[in-house]
């Protein structure tokens, strides 16, 4: 098993190489002069020339690429023009905020979508089936930034159940000691329930927004794949042998249906990481998404480039995790690969 995982790790390498090449190329295809761009609007021609030399833009493309890779290997993603801080530092400090939000959103949606999809397939044509169809179609149509704003209006402005959409923690509190970087977990580790409640009151609304967003694809896939499996020959065999419905649905059907669902999770993650950027902007969440958006507006390219690279690496690793999970469930992959 370990050997197989190592072998699968090997296939990540081409993806990572592709990602690095694309992020490098993104900086080189920028219209106009990158040196002028990096130097800012008020720079003199001498200053631009100076920057060109220091950035190595006067050297051949291949050499520039090598320099870029060497920098990357040393963890150097460049420096932000607006904050003056290294991009790498900013991204590592902000990443836990984004990860906590995205994971919580995913957990929320899985907790609702899996049972809903299974029930919809088992009771095909019932009200729960219709509900899941409405959710599946309406859910994918919701612009995530719009859902977020609607939720803020209802739960903050009208009902007052949620605090103002202003980041991870009310300014009244100070951050918990950093262990995992996840406020919900770190506050519990400190044993500070008050802090936990404060962190939770901030995160539940954006997490719900992301949850609603990913509810649709997971419900849809669960229902479709359960329906396909329930119609298959081996489920018929199980029924013909008198196995009870619970055993047929869970042990025989659902475990098989999980395989396509897990494959879909890759796509869901792709959407979630993108949606995360929009949700962070709506809720002023101090994650890497809002960092990138601020940099975009300031035409500060190094953070954007670092952000795209970080997201891509994260996504590649998530897909790797999904593949390993798939192998755990499906013996065909485990044994043949």
């Amino acid at each position: 098993m370990l050997g197989k995982i190592l072998k699968r790790l090997g296939t990540v390498v081409p993806s990572l190489i592709g990602v690095v090449i694309v992020t490098f190329l993104l900086t080189r295809v920028m219209p106009g002069d990158p040196a002028a761009y990096f130097a800012g609007p008020a720079a003199t021609p001498e200053a631009i020339e100076e920057i060109r030399r220091s950035l190595g833009l006067d050297r051949p493309l291949l050499e520039q690429f090598l320099a870029y890779v060497v920098d990357l290997a040393q963890g150097d993603l460049g420096t932000s023009l607006t904050t003056g801080l290294p991009v790498m530092h900013e991204i590592t400090t902000r990443l836990p905020a984004s990860a906590e939000l995205t994971l919580l959103g995913l957990i929320v949606s899985m907790a609702i979508a899996l049972p809903l999809g299974v029930l919809a397939a088992v009771r095909q044509g019932s009200w729960i089936d219709h509900l899941s169809r409405v959710i599946a179609t309406a859910g994918v149509s919701l612009p995530v930034f719009f859902t977020g704003l609607l939720l803020v209006y209802v739960f903050y402005f009208i009902l007052g159940w949620a605090p103002a959409p202003m980041g991870r923690l009310d300014f009244f509190f100070s951050d918990p000691e950093r262990v995992t970087g996840f406020f919900l977990i770190d506050s519990l580790l400190m044993g500070d329930l008050e802090l936990f409640r404060a962190a939770f009151s901030q995160i539940w609304l954006p997490a719900l927004t992301l949850g609603i967003f990913s509810l649709a694809p997971i419900t849809r896939m669960t229902r479709a794949s359960m329906l396909a499996v329930l119609a298959s020959d081996f489920v018929r065999t199980a029924r013909a042998n008198g196995l009870p419905p619970g055993k047929v649905v869970i042990t025989y059907a659902f475990r098989n249906a999980l395989l396509p669902i897990i494959t879909t999770l890759g796509m869901v993650f792709s959407f979630l990481l993108g949606a995360n950027v929009l949700v962070e902007k709506v809720f002023a969440w101090p994650g890497i998404g809002s960092y990138a958006v601020e940099a975009l507006i300031a035409s500060d390219f190094a953070p954007v480039q670092g952000f795209v690279l970080a997201m891509a690496i994260l996504y590649v690793l998530l897909n790797l995790l999904i593949d390993i999970l798939y192998g755990v469930i499906d013996p065909r992959v485990r044994i043949e690969a």
Partner: protein
């Protein structure tokens, strides 16, 4: 065969006036109408019918596993004193697997792909309280031993994909018989399996059920199989029972016209192709085309033909790159391993073997859709094997070698009208002609193969299987080819349609002076259609010769095994 004549048989299953309806988009369809059937204790009953006869629906209804669209409209079903129509789902569930169980066609799909076979048997045993956690494994292994699985302790941990089709069917049988039920329903249990595997599986089922005094309901399209293994045979047509009789009598004295038609159409020893057709068919042989003067050389000579496929897989590529891996891993797979044969002008050659023997690969090399690895293919004096398959489409020889495919549905483009399919070879390779001439030629071809002309503007999905087969044949003969390869052209057809198509092929061959290579797994059909036969196994030819001699006096043990595996009805 133990026919119960001395005492009145005790009915285990009694079905009266069963009518099953399906709700479809086009309204309600009656799949089964007024069916009566009895299965006595210890008796084996066969339900025989062509596709759409309602035989499978009947068996699903007895098990109460119809899908949601189907419902019992009328009738009664009693199993061992239990009213199956009125019984609750829970009551029926207690019977399923415990008192009556079922085996299906396509055994690999019938097993949960991600659960070990041992666990699947345990699930059934535990559900019916015949095993606890302590002895489940032991009992599951015992069940595997009973169906003659070699090394059952190892197989207990195997997943279905690691086992062969025949082995999977044994597991399905083990599942069905694990709780020693009183009734076994076998729904086409051997369809898709090779003939030798079919015999082994059927023998096993019969031996186990007889030893336990079980009743069996065999659902099949094969009258020969039914008569060879069952006490009584029930024939169904379009949802109704047309005849029920003892297996011995039904072959000797079929009373219903449909049974007679079905019987006649079943290929068997001692008859000619014409005998397969219904009584009163037009039997005049066609006018043979005057033979062109030839020098007596064969039309096609195949010498030492080899096809190798490299083994695939990421791991293997890596191993190859690093120069590691055993020699066996790196040797390419030989699908066809040095075969030689010839096809004479005007001759029909049968190419026979079980799945994976290389017969289809051979036919694809002969018709130049696949490149050979080595060897020669001399067609009318030219080595066509030397012309790459990709370029052969532009060769003037292309029009002289044509093919009829196994699956008539798959071989027609679903987006084109069938008239266009027939016209395609004429447009691409024929002498240029105007629209009217082309239309006339297509209509002429349709008449030649007995395809109704007014259906030429239909799409394939609007035609029956037999009609699609005729379109495929018309397309193949459109340019008057010299050699036509027939790749199991009737395997997807019902037996009565098969009889008509085989006769059509025979007549066309005489009329147009063509040569055939007939690829088949069915020795009875080959016996009727072919002058000579080549028997293949694992990429090699084990025997070839005149059909009459090979089939009546086989020299190779494998040919003998094939012949003895064909189910023979009691004479």
């Amino acid at each position: 065969m133990n026919v119960h004549t001395n005492h009145p048989p005790v009915p285990l299953l009694e079905v009266r006036g069963l009518t099953v309806e399906f709700a479809t988009r086009r309204g309600t369809v009656r799949a089964v109408e007024q069916v009566d059937l009895d299965v006595a204790k210890g008796e084996t009953l066969a339900i025989v019918g062509e596709s759409g006869s309602g035989k499978s629906v009947t068996s699903y209804t007895v098990m109460r596993i119809l899908d949601r669209a189907g419902r019992i409209a009328e009738g009664s079903m009693t199993f061992s004193g239990v009213d199956l129509v009125a019984a609750s789902e829970k009551q029926v569930r207690a019977l399923r697997g415990r008192e009556m169980s079922m085996i299906f066609q396509n055994p690999r799909a019938a097993l949960n792909p991600i659960r070990t076979v041992g666990r699947q048997i345990e699930d059934v045993l535990k559900e019916h309280a015949l095993a606890g956690s302590a002895d489940a494994k032991e009992k599951a292994i015992a069940a595997l031993t009973e169906v003659r699985i070699a090394r059952p302790e190892e197989r207990y941990d195997a997943y279905p994909f690691e086992l062969s089709g025949g082995m999977c069917q044994r597991i399905v049988i083990a599942l069905a018989l694990a709780c020693r039920p009183q009734l076994l329903i076998a729904d086409e249990p051997t369809t898709g399996l090779d003939v030798t595997t079919q015999k082994a599986v059927m023998d096993l089922v019969m031996e186990l059920t007889r030893a336990r005094g079980m009743s069996t309901l065999l659902i099949t399209h094969d009258l020969g199989l039914a008569a060879a293994y069952c006490d009584r045979v029930m024939v169904m047509e379009k949802g109704r029972v047309v005849e029920t009789a003892l297996a011995g009598t039904i072959f000797k004295a079929p009373s219903h016209a449909y049974t007679r038609k079905l019987m006649r159409a079943t290929p068997r020893g001692g008859v000619t192709l014409r005998d397969l057709l219904p009584e009163g068919s037009d039997l005049t042989p066609p006018e043979p085309r005057p033979a062109a003067a030839t020098d007596g050389t064969p039309l096609l000579t195949v010498t030492s033909l080899v096809k190798e496929y490299p083994k695939k897989g990421v791991g293997l590529t890596l191993a190859r790159l690093m120069g590691r891996g055993t020699d066996e891993d790196l040797t390419p797979f030989r699908a066809v391993d040095g075969i030689s044969f010839a096809v004479g002008r005007g001759e029909s050659l049968g190419l026979v073997g079980e799945s994976g023997c290389g017969k289809s690969t051979t036919s694809m090399m002969v018709n130049r859709l696949t490149d050979r690895t080595s060897g020669s293919l001399v067609f009318d004096g030219i080595d066509i094997g030397a012309i790459p398959a990709r370029q052969f489409a532009r060769s003037p020889l292309r029009r002289r070698i044509q093919m009829v495919f196994q699956d008539p549905t798959d071989s027609l483009n679903p987006r084109f009208q069938v008239g266009r399919a027939i016209a395609d070879p004429i447009l691409r390779m024929g002498t240029p002609m105007n629209g009217a001439a082309l239309k006339a030629r297509v209509e002429e071809l349709a008449r030649l193969v007995g395809f109704p002309e007014h259906l030429l503007d239909r799409f394939p999905h609007q035609l029956s299987g037999g009609q699609k087969a005729r379109v495929g044949i018309a397309r193949a003969i459109a340019l008057d080819p010299d050699l036509v390869i027939l790749d199991e052209p009737t395997a997807a057809l019902d037996v009565s349609v098969q009889a008509v198509v085989l006769n059509l092929l025979q007549d066309l061959k005489i009329k147009l002076g063509m040569s055939y290579i007939f690829v088949s797994h069915d020795l009875e059909v080959v016996r009727l259609l072919c002058d000579r036969v080549v028997v293949m196994r694992a990429g090699r030819i084990v025997e070839q010769g005149m059909t009459r001699e090979v089939l009546s006096n086989p020299q190779d043990p494998y040919t003998r095994e094939l012949l003895s595996s064909i189910p023979h009805p009691p004479v």
